[in-house]
Chain length 340, copies 2
């Protein structure tokens, strides 16, 4: 068994990240990470006639940049693992209908990039694939009209609400390569502490992030300080503080090595996104635009990438249900054993 | 590499099916397979106040029957792989929030049972799990108001339309056990031949079923007659005829060993379901209620279980998009090498 605890797998043959690509919308391009992305859209339509089709177009762009950097053709991919936030994950189905690659569809809400990396790494380490693509996206406009209201309605949000990222990220995992490597994954359980405010997803997901991080540290025997950076994606500024608070109660200070993708993506002084970015695309583009470049430039050696998802829907909210959360952690290191 | 072709994996250590459970609605209980199910609801509400919660309740029942037959506790499951048809897969999130098991959410439309069995088998054979649960559901009433209209509207459907099954199925896979075993999986690609009629999903999905079956036969070197039974789920009566037609053009006669779960579940003479059953729950309950019992009773030795999904949404239909299909095939045999 490759499991070293209830939730954590250590890979005997850690899969290498050999390519990554990102495509984002205009607002994301104007943020602090704006220079990092492979493609920044001029008007968020990506040349398409609907927001849903725009999201599909973004996915195709992100995947093609990732394949290019990996130096492989689409036909060399053994599997694509992908999903998005739209009902029935249509951004993904339509982006993959032209790809001719065996496909597993995933739904993990905003945790989907971490989920696809987790399963993708298992397929590579398990001997089922030489190359796997992990792919996800979200689009502010397609999400806004599905989850809340059409943009034209001009609805207001409370300060705890987050801003759905317009972006798509793709990662190519390979059996061989010079790294960085996925060394461990810690898979989340559904955690629901009873938050019913769908405009406060940071608070709803923070307990899931705390639970998975705690399991990861216990099962690997690693301290938080082992990592140059621990990122959640996407709890926003409020959810981030809650996670820091939870660990503080345990006598653990996370504040020096912990950040959140939803906070990293936008500048709170010049870009009004309330509590920060969200959406499958948020952690995906922070990983593929920013964090994996930090590895290339030698500024990161050990990263714990934690995708967080709110597993509710407008229907469950209308029925008075609370918001279940989940968090999947993926350990990425320059060395196969994890650098010390 | 355990891949023996572009789409097919042969498992060196085939995972055993050690438990399976099913829960269905009243109409399904009145059909030709009615006696096979572990639980038949009296009124499709399963004691809950909304159809969505009823679907969640069904999932819990199906999983608990499967665990009982496997003789294990929930806490022994390494992973649950699950999904459903509802927006953001809420039937699944809410059924799993009480389970305390690492969870990967899937979306494969009506192919989800085959998708979860495929990935589940990879996680077991790959050394990541001793026990995995594959779980899925659909509910006529929750689907009807999401995809089409509230029941009270009384909308009429054309004869090509299918009837969403009220049912949930769960399968427990294990590293050890006396079988039957999952010996091979052939993972589908997205196939879209341009069908735009969302009331004719059988025609939309049939090309995907044909493509995956063809790949399975080519890559395994098996003839259709190797299998006692090949089932698709769920093309309905029309889609089934299209698949038979496609193979007839290739000079292959499938008619003697091929059936469809959507056709098997209801009696067309006494139950008006138009072209047959559909929904994630349909192939799931035909597998867990009927087919796996046939193995137990020695009437099946080699089964090719092919989940078929239509990867569209009401939004994509309204935008004039065609319906992409996918099909994942799972080979189940009494012998680890596949009985001859």
């Amino acid at each position: 068994m490759k499991k070293i605890g209830r939730q954590t797998v250590r890979f005997p043959s850690p899969p290498a990240i050999v390519g990554f690509g990102s495509a984002v919308g205009t607002k994301e391009g104007q943020g602090p990470l704006g220079q990092c992305f492979d493609f920044v859209g001029k008007d968020d339509s990506f040349g398409e006639k609907s927001w849903e089709k725009a999201e599909t177009a973004m996915q195709k762009k992100a995947l093609s940049f990732a394949l290019k950097k990996a130096g492989i053709q689409t036909g060399q991919l053994d599997y694509i693992l992908a999903g998005d936030l739209l009902n029935q994950c249509i951004a993904t189905s339509y982006s993959l209908r032209s790809q001719n690659v065996p496909f597993f569809g995933l739904y993990g809400a905003c945790s989907t990039m971490a989920e696809s990396l987790s399963l993708g790494a298992m397929l590579v380490d398990g001997g089922f694939a030489n190359y796997v693509a992990a792919l996800t996206s979200s689009h502010f406009c397609s999400a806004e009209r599905q989850y809340r209201n059409p943009l034209e309605y001009g609805g207001q949000k409370p300060p705890t609400a987050q801003w759905t990222t317009t972006g798509s990220g793709a990662v190519i995992l390979s059996k061989k390569g010079k790294g960085p490597y996925i060394t461990h994954v810690t898979t989340g359980k559904v955690v629901d502490k009873g938050i019913t405010d769908a405009n406060n997803m940071g608070a709803a997901m923070a307990p899931a992030a705390y639970a998975t991080l705690k399991a990861h540290f216990e099962e690997t025997g690693r301290e938080p300080a082992f990592y140059d950076l621990i990122v959640t994606g996407d709890l926003g500024s409020l959810g981030k503080e809650i996670v820091i608070d939870f660990f503080r109660r345990d006598g653990v200070d996370l504040s020096g090595c912990y950040h959140d993708c939803g906070v990293l993506l936008f500048d709170p002084k010049t870009q009004d996104v309330h509590a920060g970015g969200s959406g499958c695309g948020c952690s995906a583009v922070v990983l593929t635009g920013h964090l994996l470049r930090e590895f290339q430039q030698g500024r990161l050696k050990n990263l714990l990438f934690c995708g967080t998802g709110a597993l509710h829907s407008p229907t469950s909210t209308m029925q008075g249900e609370s918001v279940p959360g989940i968090c999947h952690a993926v350990a990425i290191s320059t060395e196969k054993g994890g650098t010390q």
